[in-house]
């Protein structure tokens, strides 16, 4: 067991901040630090400071990538020191001071290295005259400005100058020209981490580190890759942002809407990554779910008028509400209809329903809101038999119009089957058979198997489940589908096979 950089107890109840989380995080933490002796510190509150600290640094010094590293180091230092030496009176001030020191040290080292290189070049003999030989290397550019502001002095308490806000840390125009509210910094950071030049994997990793305040090691563990791989992915992402010429300022309003959709998608990915992995020890994966919900809450505070952000948060809550009932103790998937609804989280359901109801009433309709509405109908049904399927079918029709995809159509097919009978549902499924996107997914055969089973075609259902199992992308899904297939063997035939290893026999 490697030592966790964080104080013990962070997996405890505070992992899920309640709906009434402190609106102003900085004050919340500050008050805790001042008021109490070193009790069990709530590390999630410290992580909430990460984007504010990073925003403050970038505004003052520029150099988004170096600032981001410095904040990460400050957080690691805090995790080492605070549990031993006690919490500082102002955690945010402490983090800004330590991160600034690391940053200026790093920039000075960088500056010295650059000067040394330039001096080396100046001492070199001139290159030989050009021939067929490869062109001589060019010396490093000397036109780039010094890395530190003139005077080379850093005033940590200086509140005045917003400083250079260009991310490249070079010359150029300033950002939006001043210290905006803290919330703007966080939104700017989210937009930056979800920059369109980055791959989804990089957007996710950078968002979790720079905005979520997670350590590289934690992110690497959550995605089951070596820490070096994740560190490299993050530093490459920052490089790409720099070379794309992005700046630390809010994009113009017309672009903000598009960028907001990307941010939502990244948070949705973080949630799904945590939610769809259901095997093994789930602690780390549960943290991803909690982190996605926390960041969605944060985003909603920043853009309270965006109905889709409310829809996204509602969808996460209404889905996560079923988590305890979704798997058995052994990690096997339990279908919605068979879940023990008394284990659903009523608090999350109430909050999700309120959010989506409010959004549907007042905001333009979007796919997240409709999905959340569907989840709400399921969550509010006291039993599977009481589910309002006509309502769900109507919502899937709306979703199909807003955001058409074969997966949505497959889900509509299930609703059709529940309203008009399995044969009608099968007709919807079979109409998709020619769609190449469906052919590679296990959803198609899995839904077909389910509907065939409802019609009483046991053999057809069994081979559909087997085909689905071969295409499944996770082991729990695969096991679930093989179990469904095994249940449909003739009476007696399936006896004694329940312990067969997955993949054995019928693959």
């Amino acid at each position: 067991v490697s030592p966790s950089p964080h104080p013990p107890g962070r997996h405890g109840p505070q992992r899920r901040p309640g709906p009434a989380g402190p609106p102003d995080v900085a004050d919340g933490v500050g008050a805790t630090g001042r008021g109490r002796p070193a009790g069990p510190p709530d590390w999630s509150l410290v992580r909430q400071l990460a984007p504010e600290v990073l925003g403050a640094l970038v505004r003052r010094y520029g150099h988004f990538d170096a600032c981001e590293d410095a904040v990460q180091e400050a957080l690691l230092a805090a995790a080492r020191q605070w549990p031993v030496e006690g919490w500082p009176a102002s955690p945010k001030g402490w983090l800004i001071t330590v991160a600034s020191r690391r940053l200026t040290d790093e920039l000075r080292r960088e500056e010295a290295r650059r000067r040394r290189e330039e001096a080396d070049w100046a001492r070199r003999p001139p290159p030989p005259p050009p021939s067929s030989a490869p062109p001589p290397p060019t010396p490093p550019s000397t036109s780039s400005p010094p890395l530190l502001p003139a005077g080379d002095t850093v005033h940590l308490d200086d509140e005045g100058e917003p400083g250079e806000v260009r991310l490249t840390g070079g010359r150029g125009d300033r950002g939006d020209g001043g210290d905006g509210p803290v919330g703007d910094d966080t939104l700017t950071l989210l937009f930056l981490c979800c920059h369109p030049a980055l791959s989804p994997a990089s957007q996710v990793a950078l968002t979790l580190r720079a905005v979520g305040g997670l350590t590289t090691a934690e992110i690497a563990r959550a995605f089951l890759v070596p820490e070096a791989t994740m560190a490299q992915r993050i530093s490459r992402a920052k490089e790409r942002i720099r070379s794309a010429g992005a700046r630390f300022r809010l994009p113009p309003p017309p672009q903000q809407r598009t960028r907001l959709r990307v941010v939502q998608q990244v948070l949705y990915l973080v949630f799904n990554e945590g939610y769809t992995a259901t095997s093994g020890t789930n602690l780390v994966r549960d943290e991803l779910v909690a982190e996605a919900i926390r960041l969605a809450r944060l985003l909603l505070r920043l853009v309270p008028d965006d109905g889709e952000t409310a829809g996204l948060l509602a969808l996460m809550l209404l889905t996560d509400a079923r988590r305890a009932a979704r798997t058995t103790a052994e990690g096997a998937l339990v279908p919605l209809a068979e879940q023990d609804r008394s284990r659903w989280d009523t608090g999350e359901i109430a909050e999700g329903v309120a959010l989506v109801t409010g959004a549907l009433r007042s905001k333009p309709l979007g796919p997240y809101q409709v999905q959340a509405a569907i989840a709400a109908v399921h969550d509010e049904a006291p039993s599977a038999e009481d589910t309002d399927w006509p309502q769900i079918l109507a919502l899937y029709r709306v979703l199909e119009r807003l955001d058409p995809s074969p997966v949505v159509t497959l889900n509509r097919a299930v609703a059709v089957a529940m309203v008009d009978g399995p044969a009608a549902g099968l007709a919807v499924v079979d109409a998709l058979a020619g769609d190449a996107r469906v052919a590679r997914s296990h959803h198609f055969e899995s839904v077909r198997g389910h509907l065939l089973e409802l019609t009483g075609d046991r053999d057809g259902a069994r081979s559909a489940y087997q085909a689905a199992a071969q295409r499944a992308r996770s082991l729990p899904e695969q096991r679930h589908l093989r179990t469904r297939a095994a249940r449909l063997r003739g009476p007696g035939e399936g006896e004694g096979r329940s312990d067969a290893p997955p993949g054995g026999g019928d693959g």
Partner: protein, 136 residues
């Protein structure tokens, strides 16, 4: 959540390079060194792009062993039976494998095509379905 077409973050793929002793024996020293150099360069590039999980060379198949539990097929007695590898007679055997974590199958195939060994033998690309999620 299952209702929406899912955009995934990354998927891990295993790239398996099966060797054929005759193929490798037929390479000259120069060519072999070039192959090694290019493989190192590819691994470095994949590390720098944040996609490399690991790259491994597998010891010769002549040293492979197979373990069978007493109760399992082919198992006898009451202790696990250890025998020489089952593939000793086959011409092609696993020589090395690389695990990458990348955005799409297309990218995994592209990485497989960059592997210099693909000039001599096929590179098998398999998505990794599952990984033990244990606390370390």
């Amino acid at each position: 959540m299952e209702s929406r077409s899912r955009r995934e973050t990354t998927v891990k793929y295993m790239l398996l390079i099966y060797g054929n002793q005759e193929t490798w024996d037929s390479l000259g020293e120069e060519e072999l060194n070039e192959l090694i150099r290019q493989t190192d360069a590819l691994n470095q590039a994949l590390f720098e792009s944040g996609e490399l999980v690991g790259a491994y060379g597998v010891a010769d198949q002549a040293d492979a062993k197979v373990v069978r539990s007493p109760g399992g097929p082919g198992g006898t007695g009451d202790v696990p039976a250890v025998t020489d590898g089952p593939y000793i007679e086959t011409k092609e055997y696993l020589g090395s494998f690389t695990i990458v974590d990348c955005d799409s199958e297309e990218r995994a195939l592209e990485i497989a095509a960059m592997n210099p060994a693909s000039r001599y033998v096929g590179v098998e690309v398999r998505a990794l379905l599952h990984e033990a999620d244990v606390s370390m």
